[in-house]
Structures are given as C-alpha cells and as structure tokens.
Amino acid sequence: MTQVISSDRVGPGGILSPQEIEEINADLSHYEDNQAVCIDALKIVQKHRGWVSDECVEAIADYLKISAAAVEGVATFYNLIYREPVGKKVIRVCDSVSCWVMGYETVRDRLKSELGIEYGETTADGEFTLLPGPCMGACDHAPVVMVDNDLHEDVDESKVKAIVEHYKP
C-alpha cells in the first residue's frame, strides 16, 4: 500500500467533455505542474461553453487536482474569464484612451440602442452580450470593437448597425 505522492497528475474531472479533457491534456504536457494549466483549462471550457459555471470551476479543480478555491481565485482575477452566462456573441467596445480620443462614446451608445441593452447585459434572445474592454492594440484604427475574436476597426456610428446585423443568426 505504498503510495508515492503526486504520481498521477489528473483526476476524474466530473462534467468536462472528452473534447475539453483532450485539449487540457495537450497543455498539461508542457508545463511543470497542473496549476500552470489552470488558465488554459478555464479558457478551453469557456471556448466550448461560452462561460465558466460554478460546476465547471469544480470540475476543472477536480481534474487538475487543485482546490476549487484556487481555480476560482484565478478565474476571477482575469478579465476574460466569464463567470456569468454571456450571449452567443460577446461584443466588446474598446474604451481606452485612443478610442476615447477618437470619440468612441457615440459607437458605444449606438451599440447600446441597437441592441437595446446596457453594458454587462445580454439581449433577450441570448445572442449578444455587450461589455467594455481595455485597449485592444489597434489604436491606429480607433475606435475599435471586437465581436468574439473578430476585430472591427475604424468603427463609427454609421457602421454599427451593419456589424450587428452581420452577426445576427
């Protein structure tokens, strides 16, 4: 009955899908310990589910054999891990300095009225969530808006409707 501690790196992982587990395992291979995969695991789960629920935090903890509190501590530290449900598409409006100088507020306000929601809210049909975001590294094309991973540059009021339409189902 001799057990040498920490020989097996992963636990059962509860509700994680085989796909998620496979992707997490791929990352596990090149880090020193399981904690290092924590952020990636959160991102993987978010990629598949849109956001990270309490159960997912526990499942990741379970799988990586670290405490749920440790996963939660990381999940809540980073801006782009969503711990609350979001719409199918997340629209982020850059509100940092270059976009501010270029008058991003009109874009923001137009988005709000177009979608009928405020920052932090999701449209009733569950399609869009609107969030402010920090500088997106495209300041020469300010104002910018990101819809999921797509960057929209040189946005102005007039372009807002077309962008939203483009992403409507």
Partner: protein, 919 residues
C-alpha cells in the same frame, strides 16, 4: 555584527533579519500589516516604509519598505523622516477609504492591529467621501465569522492559510480594489488551524464565532496563563472569562512550544467549561437518585463511605499532577491505580522508558520545525497532536530555505523562497494505518496495520545501525521503502522520528525508539517525539512509574477478586466507561462498597457514584501538566470557582485527614519530592509567594470595566474582589501588568499594541524565546537521560489482515476523538458521526457502499455503523473512529484485535439521531 544608524543612533544588530524586524526588536514602533514574524515579508501593504540614506552626506534619502530591506553594515535609516511618516499616514488613510466605520460594533475593536497602526501612523483626518466597496460575506462554518468589508487586503490570511499551513480552500479572489478573501463557496474552512486567522487578520474580517455568542471586549476579559487541555502537546493559551463564563481562548506565545499558533481543537474546544452538564454541587445518592448537598455534608458522607474499608484511588491522565498525587497520598501508594487500561498503561510506560533513556533529543515543537527529514511512524499527528503536525509542515520547508540560502535569498523573503522551492520539500515519510491529510506533502507514505508498521520501523533501525535487531520476510516493496527511509534519515543533519500511542501498539513505539537510537549513535542532532493521548498522560506515567502494573484493570481485578464489597473507590476526573468495557466497569462498581467520584461533569461514571464531588475545570483551577515533550507546565485559574465547586486537589486535601495541605504549592513540592523524575516541577512557574515590587500579578486589564456594577442586580454594595490564595495572580485589575515572568503572563498587551502582535515586545528576538525564558520546565532530555537502554528486540509477527476476521485500526479525529472538546458545541458540529471504514474492495465484497451499514462485532460489544470507504486501508482492515461520542465502550484495547463484520440494514433511527450509535 553589523552596525546600523537609525535616526542618528548607532545600533549593533543581527544581520540575518530584515530592517523592519530589526527595528521592532530594538523596541521601535514601526507600523506594518503584511509582514508576520512567522511568515516573513512580501512587501504588499507598504506600511513599513522608512527612509534610507546613501551616506552621511545624503540628505534626501530614498524611501524603502523596511520589511523588504536586508541589513547592511553601516546603513543609515530614519523612521522619523517627514516624507516617509507622511507616506505611512497616507497608506492608512488609503486602506481606510474602504474600511467601514464600525469599530463600535466590531469584535476586533480594542485588540485591533489596524486601530493600533492607525494610531501609530498618526493618521486622524480622512478626506475621502466617495462610496465604499462592499462584499458579500460567506458562512465559513462554526468557528469563524467573515466580514469582508473590513478587509484591508494585507494578504496575510491567504498567506497563512496556504503558505504556512498548506491548505487551499481559502484564496484571494477578484482583483484590484475588489479583491476578496474567501472560499469558492460557503462552507466550513477545511483547515485544522483556521482559528489562527482570527489573530493573523489584523482587523475584524475573521473573528471567533464562538466568542461572538458571548462577546465582550478584550479589556473586559479576565485572563490567566493556561495550558491547552485537548492533547498532550501542551500549547500555551490565554483563556478569557467574564461574569463566570469562559468566553474564548487565544494563543499565548511560547517560543519552544506553540509559537504563534494553536489548532482549532485548542482554540474552540473551551466551551465544555460552560456546559449544562457541569457538576455544580456535591451529589449524594438517595435511593435511586443523586441529590445535591453541601460541602460539609459531602465531607461527612465521604467519611462514612470510606470508613473501615480499603480505599482504592483511580487517577487520571486528564487531571493535574497535583490532583493525582493528592489522590495517591489519600489512598496510599499501594492503593493508587492509574485509571488507564493495561494496554494503554503499558504503552505510556514504554513511552516514558524510551524518553527517560533516549540518546536522541526529545524534540520540542521548535526543534521539530528545524528537522530536515521526518519519519512519522504510526501516528496520525494531524488528528492526535495537531499543533505538532503544523510544526512538521514547517519542517518540510527547510529544503526550500536551504535552497534559498544557497541562492543568497534571505529566509524572510517569503515569496521568493516559495517561488524558488516550488513543490520541493524536505523529506517526510508517513507510515500510518490509513491515509492522512499530511500525505500530500510527504515524499512517500505507506498504510498498513500497526504490527506491520512496527516491523518496518524495526527494519529501518536495523538498516541504519546493523546492531539493531533485523526483520525477516519483508517483501520487496517494503525493503525498498525501508532502504529509502533509512538512507534519508541517515543522510539528514537533523533527522526526526515521530511516533506515539495513537496506534495503541507498543511495538510501534519501540520501533521508533530503535530508529532514534540508531540515528543518535551517529548524529547528536537526531531527535524523537512521542505523542501521548492526553494532556497529562506523561505526568501520570511518571507518577505511576514505580508501579507500572498498577493500572485500571489491576484495580478492577483487585476490587472484584480480593476486596469484594469492602472497598471504597475514589475516581478522579475519569469517566471509566471511556477506558474499559461496560461490563468490566459495571462489575467493578458493583464490587465496590461505595463509589466516590470527583469530576467536573455528569457522565456515566458519576451516574454510578454514591458521592460525586464537583471539581473545577482547568478554567477555575491550577496545577501542573506534563506534555509529550516532558515539559512540566503550570496552568492557573482564569476565574474563581463558584459555590461548592473546588479544584480536585482541594477536595482531596480536605478528604485527607493525615496531611495539612492548604495550598497547591505544598502539594507541588511534595509531589516533586516523591520522585526524581518529577523533581523539577516546582520550577514550572513562580510560586504563590512570588511578588513584583510587593504586588501580585493582575488578571484583569487596566481598563477592566463594570466591577462595581457586576453584581448590582444582587446588591448595590461592591462585592469584595475574589482572593486567589494559590498563585501570585490576583482576580483583579490591581497588581502588576508589566515585566511579568512569562509563566505568569495572563495575556499580551503593551502600550500602543493592543492585539496579540504586542508579543514582539516580549521576545528576546523576533520569533525567538520569551524574555525571561519560555514557560515550563523540561523534566527529561537526552542530557538527563540515565542509562541507555538496549535495543527493543521483540519484533511482532507479520500481520495478515483478513486471515481471521477484520483487523481493527483506530482512526482519530481532531474534532470528536477528544473528550473535553467534544463537549463544546462548535467542535461537536464538526465531529463525524460514528462509522466503519474499509477499502473499496472489501466494501464491494461485503456488498455495501458509502450509503450502506455494517454490523461490527467485537469482544467488547457490537455496533451498527454506517460505511465509510477509505481506499487507503489495506484489505481486511477495518478502521473505527477512536473516542467518538456514540462509540462508547470501544476502547483502545480493542484495536489491534479482530472484528467480524457483516452487511446490515440501516438502523431504525430515533428522531434526534441521524446515524448509527453504540449499543
């Protein structure tokens, strides 16, 4: 020794410390939050800023964080420089922008480090008028309150919880100004040491929930130097009382023993003192019932009951040396019995023999922390001696500290040391019957029945020193384990072996003794620590060492066989139904002419008494206890007894017509004289005559309020202050409050330092020993060891569990296995229900799962218990919890034996009973 200049004054200082510690050690007041003497520096709060100058000509200087600044010879600094003073003020102002203005209702008020530091920094005016951030608090279980709005984000709680203790369910969450410290969701904190958060948190985020129920301000508490009663480690405590109720326990620093921290059993186990089941008056049997009586009648009753017959005395490992000694004197040495079953008596006597003759150091907790390789043989220390386990956890960090030293990173650079070491630890080997919560930090661990663990231990000793007896027929895996452990211990510079009586197996202790002896032959730093089960187990063993065969079973046998019907039995603070099978105890009491019990509580034993005398608890009495490191320590009454309640030793002195002991000191001295082993105990603390400038020591603070009105509802006349004739302490605010001998220090306070952080002022160096010496006196150490005993050479047979029924092993619980603390509500809430544990393979062979029930039959009784699957248990082994309420009658003697078990139906559960109990 480097010299540094602080505000123009030169000082010779210790170069290994950081500048903050150095300043504090020089008695300078410099505010800080994130630094903690046991946890080092991380530089987050920025409160400890000082100005450092390049040389004499540098007039501007530059601001540095003193906690992050190493000492260099010739360095010039200023604490008074205006710019940094202003900065420190602004830091306070800044954390205060979010801090609620709730000091009047905050339980930290009056002993709040934040209040102290606010004062110290000089901050008075706050200009911020914006909104404050708010948090939702969590339910953290029965021990700890959570009030996150008070948080100043010093990160001490999580650093303590994760880095110092190694638990992970409390974490920093969120970021920026919204950073939150808590669990991932509501629930009891998992750590066995969560209570220290109360003292670690510099403000009122984490406070003592048990204290809340009967809260008073620190300055309104009456306190005394005391010793924890809940295991044999002997942590020093400072219990606080108000209006006859014990309100709480806080840590009392002892540099050799508990340092800054207690375990949760010790901190939250006190409430039994206030329990309804306290015996308040003498009780005399009248027909079928016990009726109250007064003191004189009780004494007369005793005279009657004991007239013309032998009097047999049953002592107790939970009573003081003095009380046991008084009983021994009352009944005569020939009639005094230990109150322990033979198996336990043998175990404790073996431990004593080992400690008396050891050539290894007997490790204090401070020495445990310094070990660089630790073998734990048989003992689930986290549950039987929790504070020892916390010390072992520190020992595993020594590798990291050594790595840091090689990389020239100072040991106080906490985060840097941790980052460098990552998961590397000094070796710890856990050889225990079942998995423990220490295993995750062990290099390797191994679970087996005690006899086989003893064999491994014997083999390790033999591998270190060929002179030690060897063990045949180990399998290859065992041989490899033995080789690795032997090699590691041998190669260590401070190897430590920990064992104890938790397995109820003498061979385990003997094996540990052999290992330590083998190590000590080559290494004078080799150390041993043997855990004993109860607060005074070792003291009782010393008192009984001349007649080790005089145990409870002998007393029973003698009473039943020889003096049947002609002996009065006097039982001292001992519920014998926890020590021996019900049948045996019943027969014993039946055979006695009369049973006299001195105890603090109603229990199964007092229920059999013809006369029960109400004994004071530790909170109302005084005496000497001997801890498992053979340290004799004195505890003192926190408050006076009420009514007829009296210290056991006082009752016994009164019952004894042939002596005239009027004071504890006389008993202590007589006890010391009775045996060379105990000769030192008078030195454990100053005696009752001790005075400082003709004054006694005050138990109450300068600010103790309401003395005149405390009894105003009874009489408008101010009542006379209770007198303490037994010690140099007074039940009063009059008396000395400062420069006290450590053993008489009721609590910690220093001007401007109202929290326990004031301890810095009382240490010879930060984190070192107390000025004037750490309390207590070591009765044994290798220096005092007499003749070196030979090797223990009886090697147990290989145990093949499953061959004849299930082999029983004990499982211990920090919450639940110990008698006193189980009587405290908060602890009871955390105690498990009785269960039977076995591995998954056995469970499936029996066709039961976690929801199932088992009928467990032993010689001493049978129980229906719910199943707990514990896959660390070998096949054929049954783990039963030790000492749990509801498993009465399951004594140590049963362990090691075998049981037969079978699947059964869930018992019919009485409405108030949720799980299977004893039958």
């Amino acid at each position: 020794m480097p010299t540094i200049v602080i505000d123009g004054e030169p000082y010779d200082v210790d170069g290994d410390k950081n500048l903050l510690e150095t300043c504090l050690q020089l008695d300078k007041d410099l505010p800080y939050f994130c630094w903690h003497p046991a946890m080092g520096s991380v530089g987050s709060c920025r409160q400890c800023a000082v100005t450092q100058y390049q040389d004499e000509n540098d007039e501007r200087g530059r601001m540095v964080m003193s906690c992050m600044t190493p000492i260099t010879d010739g360095m010039i600094v200023s604490l008074k420089d205006e710019a940094t003073q202003e900065f420190r003020d602004s830091c306070i102002e800044t954390v205060m922008t979010n801090h609620p203005h709730d000091c009047p209702v905050c339980e930290e008020g009056g002993e709040c480090h934040l209040q102290d530091m606010t004062n110290m920094s000089g901050h008075t005016q706050r200009v911020y008028q914006g909104p404050k951030r708010t948090h939702r608090n969590q339910d953290l279980g029965p021990f700890i309150n959570h009030e996150m709005n008070r948080c100043i984000a010093c990160y001490r709680c999580v650093r303590y919880y994760q880095d110092y203790v190694g638990d992970t369910d409390l974490q920093a969450q969120g970021s920026g100004a919204k950073v939150f410290f808590g669990r991932h969701k509501d629930g009891a904190l998992e750590s066995e040491f969560s209570g220290n958060l109360v003292e670690v948190c510099p403000t009122g985020v984490f406070t003592d929930k048990t204290f809340s129920k009967h809260f008073v301000r620190k300055w309104d508490l009456q306190s005394a130097p005391s010793v924890c009663m809940h295991c044999a480690i002997g942590c020093n405590t400072s219990p606080g009382e108000r209006n006859g109720t014990l309100r709480r326990i806080v840590n009392r620093y002892n540099g050799d023993v508990n340092g800054y921290f207690l375990c949760d059993r010790g901190r939250f186990g006190y409430d039994f003192v206030n329990d309804q089941r306290r015996l308040a008056e003498p009780l005399v049997q009248q027909g079928d019932s016990l009726d109250s009586t007064d003191r004189d009648d009780a004494l007369a009753q005793y005279a009657n009951l004991s007239a013309d017959c032998e009097v047999i005395g049953i002592g107790s490992p939970r009573a003081s040396l003095e009380a046991n000694f008084a009983l021994q004197q009352l009944v005569g040495e020939d009639n005094f019995y230990s109150g322990l079953a033979s198996s336990e008596q043998a175990l404790h006597q073996t431990s004593l023999t080992v400690l008396e003759s050891t050539s290894a150091l007997i490790a204090s907790l401070r020495q445990v922390e310094q070990a660089d390789a630790v073998l734990v043989l048989g003992e689930d220390i986290l549950n039987t001696a929790p504070r020892l386990a916390l010390a072992v956890k520190q020992a595993t960090k020594n590798l990291g500290l050594n790595m840091a030293a090689d990389a020239r990173i100072p040991s106080w650079q906490a985060a840097a040391v941790k980052n460098l070491a990552q998961n590397q630890r000094s070796p710890l080997f856990m050889l225990t019957p079942a998995a423990t919560r220490m295993d995750s930090i062990a290099q390797s661990c191994h679970n087996d029945v005690p006899a086989n663990l003893a064999r491994l231990g014997m083999a390790i000793a033999n591998a270190i020193d060929g002179g030690a007896p060897g063990v045949n027929d180990l399998d290859d895996q065992e041989k490899e384990l033995v080789a690795v452990i032997a090699e590691t211990l041998k190669g260590a510079s401070k190897p430590l072996v920990i064992s104890g009586s938790g397995c109820f197996d003498v061979a385990v202790v003997q094996a540990a003794a052999n290992i330590s002896r083998a190590l000590a032959a080559e290494n004078d730093k080799a150390a041993i620590h043997l855990v004993l089960p109860e607060v005074n187990s070792l003291g009782l063993a010393m008192l009984c060492s001349k007649k080790p065969e005089a145990d409870l079973n002998a007393a029973m046998k003698r009473t039943v066989d020889q003096v049947n019907g002609q002996a009065a039995v006097v039982v001292l603070e001992n519920d014998l139904y926890r020590r021996a099978g019900k049948g045996l105890v019943d027969d014993f009491f039946d055979a006695a002419q009369s049973v006299v019990v001195i105890d603090s509580f109603h229990n199964d034993t007092t229920a059999r008494a013809q006369l029960a005398l109400p004994a004071a608890t530790f909170a109302e009495s005084e005496g000497t206890m001997v801890s498992s490191e053979a340290r004799a320590q004195r505890y003192f009454a926190v408050h006076n007894t009420e009514g007829y309640v009296a210290s056991s030793w006082k009752w016994l002195a009164e019952l004894n017509k042939s002596v005239s002991w009027t004071h504890l000191d006389q008993l202590t001295a007589a006890c010391a004289n009775s045996s060379p082993l105990l000769a030192g105990i008078t030195l454990a603390a100053p005696d009752r005559e001790f005075r400082l400038n003709d004054q006694k020591v005050a138990r109450q603070s300068h600010r103790y309020s309401g003395r005149g009105s405390a009894t105003a509802h009874i009489s408008v006349n101010e009542t006379r202050v209770a007198q303490d004739d037994e010690s140099a302490l007074a039940f009063s605010m009059e008396g000395r409050q400062s420069n006290l001998p450590p053993a008489l220090q009721p609590g910690i306070w220093s001007p401007g330092w109202n929290s326990n952080e004031a301890i810095n002022k009382f240490q010879d160096e930060i984190g070192g020993h107390l000025k004037g010496g750490d309390p207590g006196i070591r009765l044994l150490d290798k220096a005092t060891a007499g003749t070196q005993s030979g090797w223990f050479d009886s090697i147990p047979q290989k145990s093949m569990p499953g061959s004849q029924g299930y082999r029983l092993v004990p499982l211990h619980h920090i919450f639940g296995s110990e008698e006193f603390s189980s009587g405290s509500n908060a602890i009871a809430q955390r105690s498990p229900k009785p269960y039977a544990a076995l591995c998954a393979a056995d469970a499936s062979a029996l066709e039961v799962d976690q929801q199932g029930w088992l009928k467990v039959e032993l010689n001493s009784g049978q129980w229906t218990l719910s199943v707990a699957v514990d896959d660390s248990l070998p096949r054929g082994v049954l783990g039963l919890p030790s000492g749990l309420t509801g498993l009465g009658g399951l004594q140590g003697a049963a362990y090691g034996g075998s049981a037969s078990i079978s699947k059964t139906q869930s018992p019919v559960i009485a409405s108030d009973q949720t799980s299977g109990g004893g039958e």
